[in-house]
Amino acid sequence: MKNRWRVLENKIFVRWLSIAAITTMVLLLIFFITLLISSWPGIKANGFGFLWGKTWDPVANHFGMFPFLIGTLITSFLSLLISAPFSIAAALFLGEFYPKGLIPNIFRNVIELLAAIPSVVYGFWGLYTVAPLVSKLEMKMHMPAPGVGIFTASIVLSIMLIPYSVSLIRQVISMTPVALKEAAYALGSTRAEVITKVIIPSNISGISAGFLLSLGRALGETMAVTILIGNSPELPHNIFSPSYTMASVIANEFTEAVGDVYLSTLIEVGLLLFVVTTIINLIGRLIIKKVSY
């Protein structure tokens, strides 16, 4: 009797899990289909030229999203590049050198707290603190010095990414098999060699996954970037130029967009952001597969 109950209990549990998992997937699919349907008038009106068009003119209903795509990719990858050395260092510090103890615990919590700061706070902190510093730097380099632009947005974004990559990478690093490390020490490796030749290579897939997670976060970040990027839909001349991202143009213009084509064009931008994120994620997974043992 008791045994049968346990079988039933197990069945319910598995059923519950699969329903939850399927629901998430179906939701994603419905989300995609809804985006596709609502953006259809825009897709029809804009055609394929939308992808590489460089003009964004809501007054004349003439739309091209190439500058937004470029702005999104540059800020995301640049912020990932800036945050990567810090993330790896912090993860090694917490995962390998000082995995336990009061101070590492405080460090870990502080880093994770970075994720809890609302992005609008990051945005205005960036505008009132980082942007003036960048502006001074630009003046020293004798270029236009608005302070806001790709560089400022990427710096602030990179700080926002750190908690995401650190928490994942720290975990995989701390789970490196002790036998592996001891074997390396036995062969006469220094600690630096153990880190660069054993810990990082053996965890490369986990580390890449951590970066992929934070890249997804960067692609979709809206508020902080909108405040800091300068919002000009032009192709940037250098990393200090103002730019614009896909998420920002949706946030900026959706509430007051009038006219069916305009509105559905903004939804089309959302659809394409979805597609871009998916493609980057797939490429990322492919790379992880290639590099991992």
Binding site: V59, E234, A251, T255, V258
Partner: protein, 361 residues
């Protein structure tokens, strides 16, 4: 398993609370359920007048018992909601276009409730008080004038010390009535602007300009970087004591933007349907970059099974807004509508009917 027990308990709890609140609500309201629904007014639209409207509605609610729920979802959303008849009134920073009016399911009327203005704010060393002509403003925002010591600026400001500094231009990047007022003004004073850029809530700005999110975003850019110029809402500029340029109006006078000069801008002739853009009006002492904000409602209020009481409550409240309610404008840095506009709005509200009979007797 434990989790699912907790969940079902929580679910049961929520259900119980929901049921009990329904129950008690029902007990209280059964006798005058219809009456209570008639006292709930729902509106949606423009974000610009939101602080004023919420103050007005809370003041009016104190004396009349009418509860008004205003959702500041943006002008475009306000027009959509009234079109779908999901709200009692819509609010918009721009009057309805002819195409909008055609796509409405029934005849609508609209009237102004207050005025807002855009000011040109800047950050220059020494904080000089600048005067600007329409030509200078168009030149700066079209990027034809790129230096602060440009001859055109210097000619109008002989006393100001103008630095040899690049002009950085900042504009609102989020679609907004503020941008509409400004681009509408520029389209009227500059043919170049009208053909190249045009008027809209979001436009294709000339290359090399910065976009800030909201008044606070543009103000932040101006405050942070010397040499920056941008346009922001009058109310925001007054509250944050920013440097403001006086602007030469169509009558040829330099006007400092204030609540009074904004009201004066609208003190010309108002058409019967109040659909007028007053930017660049030639009123003697009016500040030219000003605009009304409108409320939209159906002319025939008997739709969707609405009661006559509800229609009466709505129109009475709107009537109050253009009379007693105007006292709320100045403390919140909005400009009250001038007498001619009040008269036009009165005529419009008197034309609202229920079953063919005027709602206001």
């Amino acid at each position: 398993m434990k989790n699912s027990i907790v969940q079902s308990l929580a679910l049961a709890g929520i259900l119980a609370i929901g049921l009990s609140s329904c129950g008690s609500g029902g007990d209280k309201t059964t006798p005058n359920a219809a009456n209570d629904a008639d006292k709930q007014i729902l509106g949606a639209g423009a974000t610009f007048p939101y602080p004023l409207y919420s103050k007005m509605f809370s003041e009016y609610g104190k004396t009349s018992g009418i509860q008004t729920n205003y959702q500041s979802i943006g002008s475009g959303g306000g027009v959509k909601q009234i079109m779908n008849k999901t709200v009692d009134f819509g609010a918009s920073d721009a009057f309805l276009s002819d195409a909008d009016i055609k796509s409405m399911p029934a005849e609508v009327v609209e009237f102004p409730t207050c005025l807002g203005a855009d000011v040109i704010s800047y950050n220059l060393p020494g904080n000089p008080q600048l005067k600007m002509t329409p030509e200078i403003i168009a030149g700066i925002f079209l990027r034809n004038i790129t230096k602060w010591n440009d001859k055109k600026i210097a000619a109008e400001n002989p006393d100001a010390k103008l630095p040899d500094m690049d002009i950085t231009v900042a504009h609102r990047t989020d679609g907004s009535g503020t941008t509409f007022i400004f681009t509408d003004y520029l389209s009227k004073i500059s043919d170049d602007w009208k053909t190249k850029i045009g008027a809209g809530k979001s436009v294709n700005w000339p290359e090399g300009e910065l976009g800030g999110k909201g008044n606070e975003g543009v103000a932040g850019m101006i405050k942070q970087t010397p040499g920056t110029v941008g346009y922001i809402e009058l109310a925001y500029a007054l509250q944050n004591s920013m440097s403001i340029a006086s602007v030469k109006n169509a009558a040829g006078n330099y006007i400092t933007p204030t609540i009074q000069s904004t009201s004066l801008c609208a003190n010309g002739d108002i058409p019967a349907d109040t659909r007028i853009s007053i930017t660049n009006s030639n009123v003697d002492q009016g500040y030219p970059i000003s605009s009304f904000t409108w409320i939209i409602l159906y002319k025939e209020q008997n739709y969707n099974n609405r009661s006559k009481d509800k229609a009466t409550n709505l129109v009475k409240e709107l009537w109050w807004m253009i009379h007693e309610g105007q006292a709320q404008t100045a403390p919140l840095n909005y400009a009250p509508i001038p007498p001619k506009a009040v008269a036009a709005a009165e005529t419009i509200l008197k034309s609202v009917t229920y079953g063919g009979q005027p709602v206001l007797q």
